[in-house]
């Protein structure tokens, strides 16, 4: 959408020059006023917008200057977030009013929303202006997305032929096709499409409280986990996390070269437990009942820790009760995820590792400072250096225990003609971060 951008005042102001000829699904052209409107609307109506934007100024028809609340690279990273999709001022009533009510999604992506009901369904048709812009002809007439919350019900809907494909609602921790089902589905003839993303499942500790405020105990847990066993739960459909993120993630290769690798050393783990008087220690681990994958992983972890002399009491809770316990800090360990799709990498880094965040995974003085530096730094090389230091710090402090790298998936029925390219690319060939229906700007 943006042709180029200029950064002023360390990123407090970024001026974007827009590409010409981009049209909304209603045929009107996307110009600077739409960007200004979206920024102002988000600043009033969306938590992410509220904490990000100060104001926006139209410089000319195709140039818009956005003023941010804080300085830093993070502002730019956040613009890739789907919440920030530019919408037509006609999407709200009164038209173009930043305080207006959202009435209908009008975006500039390849799909046009024709009908939707929140938490039920959304129906899309091709956005003719998008296809025209790239000289393409749409190969579909209609695209219906059904909202099925429960993971088992979703798999059953595919098996029963009610839907042609199921895909992840890839926020990371919720609503995805159970990974332990992928092989079963494959063996039944369904097609499983996977893409690696920098999303990692971890053990998160209640590290401010005893007993996990002790780095030695965290280290013992870290060394006790055999990640190659963890992925067997998923028939090796996912990869073991021996680094914090997949190798494609920025700075991981460099950190790995410097020895930042998570290893399985049960004897050493056992020795640490015994030497520090933790033998027979009882801790609890909370698990969300609605995630069959995590229930299995938790049971395996329980066994692995039992092998080194730590008893884990599993508490498998309803989602509501789980969140309550999580937010109140009433747990010793839990399974959690860090990272996300590529575009969400830095946003999730903020949520999980920046000081003072509600849904954090681990923050120490050292990692917190590094996280601040990473999110501030515009220079890619320097940012990478900070990232390497950050990975090192988390590893030294055993802040989290990475378990496995999650993936993005789509599973299609036997009769669906699709290949990897179709599933993970826009019709114009640009790869995208997550399942297609996300990109139409429907806040359904």
């Amino acid at each position: 959408m943006a042709k180029r951008w200029e950064i002023e005042k360390d990123g407090k102001i970024i001026t974007f020059e827009l590409n010409k000829g981009i049209k909304f699904s209603d045929g009107t052209e996307l110009k600077a006023d739409a960007v200004k409107f979206t920024v102002e609307w988000l600043a009033k109506n969306h938590p992410l917008g509220q904490e990000t934007f100060e104001s926006a100024e139209v410089v000319d028809d195709y140039t818009v200057s956005i003023k941010y609340k804080e300085e830093g690279f993070f502002n730019l990273a956040k613009m890739a977030e789907f919440h920030m999709s530019i919408m037509s001022p006609k999407s709200v009533k009164p038209e173009g009013d930043p305080k207006g009510n959202f009435v209908w999604p009008i975006g500039s992506g390849c799909f046009k929303a024709v009908d939707y009901k929140e938490e039920q369904y959304a129906i899309y048709e091709p956005n003719p202006y998008w296809f025209e812009r790239f000289g393409l002809k749409p190969k579909f007439r209609r695209f219906v997305v059904k909202f099925i919350k429960d993971e088992d019900t979703r798999v059953m809907a595919l098996k029963g032929g009610q839907v042609d494909a199921i895909s992840d609602f890839i926020h990371g921790g919720s609503d995805y096709t159970p990974r332990n089902q992928l092989s079963v589905l494959e063996s039944m003839g369904f097609k499983v499409f996977k893409r690696n993303i920098p999303l990692t499942w971890i053990i998160a500790f209640n590290y401010k409280k005893e007993p996990f405020n002790d780095v030695k105990l965290r280290k013992a847990v870290d060394l006790a986990i055999n990640r190659d066993d963890v992925i067997k739960i998923f028939d090796k459909q996912v990869l073991p996390a021996k680094t914090l993120f997949i190798e494609d993630a920025p700075g991981i290769k460099e950190a790995k070269a410097q020895g930042v690798i998570y290893e399985f050393k049960p004897d050493e783990a056992k020795r640490i437990v015994e030497e520090n008087g933790y033998k027979g220690l009882s801790v609890d681990m909370i698990v969300d009942k609605n995630q069959s994958d995590q229930i299995l992983v938790a049971q395996l972890i329980q066994q692995k820790l039992r092998d080194i002399g730590i008893n884990v009491k599993l508490e498998i809770l309803e989602t509501g009760a789980y969140r309550q316990r999580r937010d109140a800090g009433e747990y010793d360990m839990r399974l959690y995820y860090i990272g996300g799709t590529d575009r969400r990498f830095y946003l999730r880094m903020f949520w999980r590792f920046y000081p003072g965040q509600k849904w954090s995974a681990y923050v120490s003085d050292r990692t917190g400072e590094l996280c601040k530096k990473i999110l501030k730094e515009f220079d890619e090389k320097k940012r990478k250096q900070y990232l390497v230091e950050f990975y090192k710090a988390i590893h030294d402090e055993h802040g989290v225990v990475p378990l496995y790298f999650d993936i993005m998936t789509a599973v299609t029925a036997k009769n669906v003609v699709a290949d990897y390219y179709h599933v993970f690319h826009y019709p114009n060939g640009i790869p995208f971060g997550e399942p297609l229906f996300y990109y139409v700007g429907v806040r359904a």
Partner: protein
């Protein structure tokens, strides 16, 4: 005389013997679990989802645990939980039913209406709601299931006890006791309740089957006993997605649920027959 005739009757009755045989078999299985089965928690990721073989009689599950060991240990869980529920609900139900029947009047009205109210609520739905509430309020515990089932289960005992006591309190031996100056509670506890126990035992036996079904249903819905503790209903839940690729994960727990329910139902029905016959013989 009565007891001897009754005992003879039990062993002569096919239903009784068969039912008792099944129950004794499952109870022994649970009792001898440490001897006849291995560690039900031991995972072995290189042996996951293996079909039944000599090494693993009932195959292995998603974490490579021996399904046979989990079934055997699961018998303990299921029977213990069912027994606890039955004992508590029988005690509560019988006492309330007896009080209602014996004292009559406003006491009977109040207890009677409470019973009616509970009877009007679909049992399993109520159980599900209660377990959910208890989980949020008290965290996960096996007592959530026990309490939730007891709350609905005592009603059947109370209802039967009340009607038995209604007829018993008009009998001569009660009137005699009253004439001799015995107190109400003495008569109730020493004479009325012991005389009503026959039908209650039959009811308890039949009820055990229902309770096992309820525990398993709650387990299947993920509301009962929580993993990794082996429990049959929960094992079916964990195995349901593998029904096409690893049917042994659901078949064996299902089989044992059916067997134990069948055992208690057969014994209950048999007891009913025997009691009828004993009464006829004595009369």
């Amino acid at each position: 005389m009565e007891v001897v005739a009754f005992r003879m009757g039990i062993f002569r009755n096919t239903l009784c013997t068969l039912g008792l045989g099944i129950i004794v078999f499952i109870a022994l299985m649970g009792l001898l679990a440490p001897i006849i089965a291995g560690d039900p928690y031991k995972t072995n990721m290189s042996e996951r989802l293996k079909p039944p073989s000599l090494k693993h009689l009932f195959g292995t599950d998603q974490l490579g645990r021996d399904v046979y060991s989990r079934i055997v240990w699961g018998a303990r869980t299921t029977l213990l939980v069912a027994l606890t529920i039955s004992i508590i609900s029988m005690t509560v139900g019988c006492l309330l039913g007896a009080i209602a029947g014996y004292f009559g009047g406003i006491v009977d009205d109040v207890i009677g209406r409470i019973i009616d109210t509970f009877l009007a609520i679909p049992e399993l739905v109520f159980n599900i709601a209660l377990v959910g509430i208890f989980c949020v309020a008290y965290g996960t515990s096996i007592w959530n299931v026990i309490l939730a089932v007891v709350v609905t289960n005592w009603v059947s005992y109370a209802r039967v006890m009340r009607s038995i006591v209604l007829s018993l309190k008009e009998r001569e031996f009660v009137i005699c006791e009253k004439a001799l100056g015995a107190g109400d509670w003495y008569i109730l506890l020493r004479h009325v309740i012991p005389n009503a126990l026959g039908p209650i035992i039959v009811l308890a036996t039949l009820n055990m089957g229902n309770v096992i079904m309820t525990i398993s249903s709650l387990g299947f819905l993920g509301l009962g006993v929580q993993p990794p503790t082996p429990e049959w209903g929960q094992m079916i839940n964990a195995g349901k997605n593998y029904i096409t690729t690893a049917p042994w994960l659901t078949f064996f727990p299902g089989l044992f649920i059916a067997l134990s329910v069948l055992g208690f139902n057969l014994l209950g029905e048999g007891l009913q027959e025997v009691m009828g016959k004993t009464k006829a013989v004595l009369e």
